[in-house]
């Protein structure tokens, strides 16, 4: 479980997140909405442990441990992973090596790459000259190798063409154990598998396309550095589409 309590975060001396409370239980996937600059990426980076995002109040608990001041790699080792929107290029480091690093050296890199049509990119430098969609597939491939328990996705569908959106969506669903196309898998019923689900997800989205592939449990709106509501993600999306973020936040606050 991820628990964030009354979190306040500064970046370069200014407060960018305040009074953040968030709880993601095992098996749950949350969707994070919010206008540009509302602090969505900052929240993900803070959870991942980027030191420039300074936690000045509150705490972050993961699997019962206070991770507020743990370095990035220790959080990764505890089971937190992230799919970046714009990851840096690492010259001279091949994607193959990167995927292997993610899997602690014990993964079938080729096999995993086949699942996201990425075998042709394994011998290229990580992210070097990758298109938007290629970056997303590379990031998902790395997450597949890492297999973390909590996955943070920063706009996984941005820059992805229509052809690949289904691939990206389905891959995320599989990572989050939300791929329930068939009624019974390995002799287990849908309900049974839902109960056994452990993976947690937090997905930033602008478009909501991802909801077509991943049955998210809760939606949240981050507005001006504050998490404003917890509701059904579809309802939030409709509301934002009809009346905009500000109106939506007020409206949902009033009704709840």
């Amino acid at each position: 479980m991820l628990q964030i309590e009354d979190l306040k975060v500064e970046l370069g001396g200014s407060v960018i997140l305040e009074h953040i409370d968030l709880e993601i239980r095992p098996g749950e996937t949350h969707v994070l909405f919010g206008p540009n600059g509302s602090g969505k990426t900052s929240l993900l980076m803070t959870i991942m442990g980027y030191p420039q995002y300074r936690v000045v109040a509150g705490k972050i608990m993961f699997k019962g441990l206070d991770i507020t001041s743990l370095p990035i790699n220790e959080r990764a080792q505890l089971g937190i992973g992230i799919s970046y929107q714009r990851p840096p290029t690492i010259n001279g480091v091949k994607t193959r090596q990167m995927v292997s690093v993610c899997g602690g050296g014990a993964v079938d890199v080729e096999g995993l790459a086949r699942k996201v049509n990425f075998t042709g990119f394994l011998d290229r430098d990580v992210n070097a000259g990758f298109s938007g969609g290629e970056i997303k597939r590379s990031e998902l491939l790395q997450l597949m190798a890492q297999d973390p328990d909590l996955m943070l996705f920063d706009e996984p569908e941005s820059g992805v063409d229509l052809e690949n959106i289904a691939l990206v969506g389905k891959t995320i669903a599989r990572l989050l154990q939300k791929d329930q196309d068939e009624e019974t898998v390995n002799g287990r019923s849908k309900m049974r598998r839902k109960m056994e689900r452990t993976k947690m997800g937090l997905i930033i989205t602008h478009t909501g396309y991802i909801l077509d592939y991943v049955a998210a449990d809760k939606g949240q709106v981050l507005f001006k550095g504050r998490l404003s509501c917890v509701s059904n993600p579809r309802e939030i999306l409709t509301c934002i589409g009809e009346s905009g973020y500000e109106e939506c936040v007020t409206c949902i606050l009033e009704t709840s």
Partner: protein, 407 residues
């Protein structure tokens, strides 16, 4: 040997002439007298052990000779092994070659003997060196290895090498220069003249493992004829007091190509002034100079100079430096276009490792040190097109071995 009399006269005149660039070295303090070492056969070489063996292996020498087409091994001033098994490739010492009339067409034909005190010393104090020549139309599967080894404290080792890739031939050479583990102070002066004839391909990979108080002054010039390819790789990961070289390549025929790659990791107190210069003189000429330098408290000057003399040439210079633990990197990229229709570019960057890249790797589970080392190794990992696999492996090994020194 009359032809050398004239060379010696020219050399005498510049005995004290400082080089155009680089700190001046007083060569008087070094010993020049021959140091005799017994000839070693293949079994003797295979039996070499301990730290000496380690030094040789680090410089790319395969003592089992298994993956090599031939071997030239000079210790101090004596040739202690010289043999070739590859068909169509000749390996001989320059002292032997100087007995043959044809050598006059190559000896000091590219490097001027009176360039500076180091070229002068190479003629006046010549110890030995190698001549490697691939016959027309031959293709060597395994690289030829050459090793210039310094064992005697205070010696000035003076060598002259000539490499000839005859028409339509393909020749790969790996050359290691190293010092024995106990050696501290010595000098190495090496002349290299490369002849890449019509449609020939020559790759020359040099790995240097010097000692902390070594002075090194190589002087090299290459001449590439029509359709020829000259691939020159240089790796230096070990300390040296002062190393200065500025190898020059002349593309003398249409469609001739030169690619120069250098990877330098500078140790504290070391000084490197290195670069490459290519003259593109014919249509279809291509040149690429790539340098990756890291300083750990050393002073590195990374030069590059491309000269485009005719239209329809393309040349690119890439010079990237990383300052890890102090020191300086001075990148001096120069482009010189003399006519309309040249296409020349350069990119130079000097900086530190981006925090963003370290954080990215840490978020995949690597510690900060592991992440840094992965990025540094990636930085030094240059893709060299056309380099045979065994030579790629040697470069990777040299980088890997020095990994802990880098950090």
């Amino acid at each position: 040997m009359h032809f050398r009399d004239e060379l010696k006269q020219r050399a005498e005149k510049v005995r004290d002439k400082a080089a155009a660039i680089g700190p001046d070295v007083d060569l008087e303090v070094f010993q020049k007298d021959p140091v005799d070492h017994a000839y070693l056969d293949e079994e003797d070489l295979a039996r070499l052990e301990g730290a000496e063996r380690e030094q040789l292996v680090m410089s790319g020498l395969d003592l089992s000779m298994k993956d090599r087409g031939g071997t030239f091994f000079q210790k101090d001033t004596s040739v202690i092994h010289c043999k070739t098994k590859a068909e169509g490739v000749e390996v001989l010492s320059i002292k032997q070659a100087l007995q043959k009339p044809w050598i006059q067409d190559y000896y000091w034909k590219l490097v001027p003997v009176d360039a500076d005190k180091y070229t002068a010393a190479a003629e006046l104090d010549l110890h030995d060196g190698y001549v490697i020549r691939s016959l027309p139309g031959t293709r060597s599967v395994y690289p030829i290895q050459a090793c210039l080894y310094l064992d005697r404290e205070g010696l000035q080792q003076t060598v002259h090498n000539i490499i000839i890739a005859e028409e339509d031939s393909e020749l790969h050479i790996i050359t290691g220069c190293a010092t024995s583990p106990h050696l501290k102070k010595a000098a190495h002066i090496g002349i290299s003249e490369f002849y890449v004839k019509k449609n020939a391909k020559l790759s020359f990979t040099m790995i240097h493992n010097w000692a902390e108080d070594m002075v090194v002054r190589p002087r090299s010039v290459a001449r590439v004829e029509e359709g020829g390819l000259f691939l020159n790789n240089y790796v230096c990961m070990k300390p040296v007091r002062s190393l200065q070289m500025y190898p020059t390549t002349h593309l003398e025929g249409p469609d001739a190509v030169a690619r120069l790659y250098s990877i330098i990791v500078g140790s504290p107190g070391s000084e490197y002034d290195v670069g490459g210069r290519v003259y593109l003189k014919n249509p279809g000429n291509r040149a690429e100079i790539v340098a990756r330098t890291i300083t750990n408290g050393s002073r590195i000057i990374a030069r590059g100079h491309l000269v485009g003399e005719v239209a329809d040439i393309k040349a690119h210079l890439e010079c990237r430096g990383l300052i890890l633990n102090g020191g300086t990197i001075h990148a001096i990229p120069e482009l010189e276009g003399h006519v309309d229709g040249v296409e020349m570019s350069h990119e130079a960057a000097v900086g530190k490792i981006a925090q963003e890249e370290i954080a990215y790797l840490m978020s995949r589970g690597l510690s900060e040190d592991e992440a840094t080392s992965t990025i540094v190794r990636g930085f030094l990992n240059v893709d060299i097109p056309g380099l045979p696999e065994p030579l790629k492996r040697e470069i990777d090994r040299a980088i890997e071995r020095s990994d802990k020194d880098v950090m």
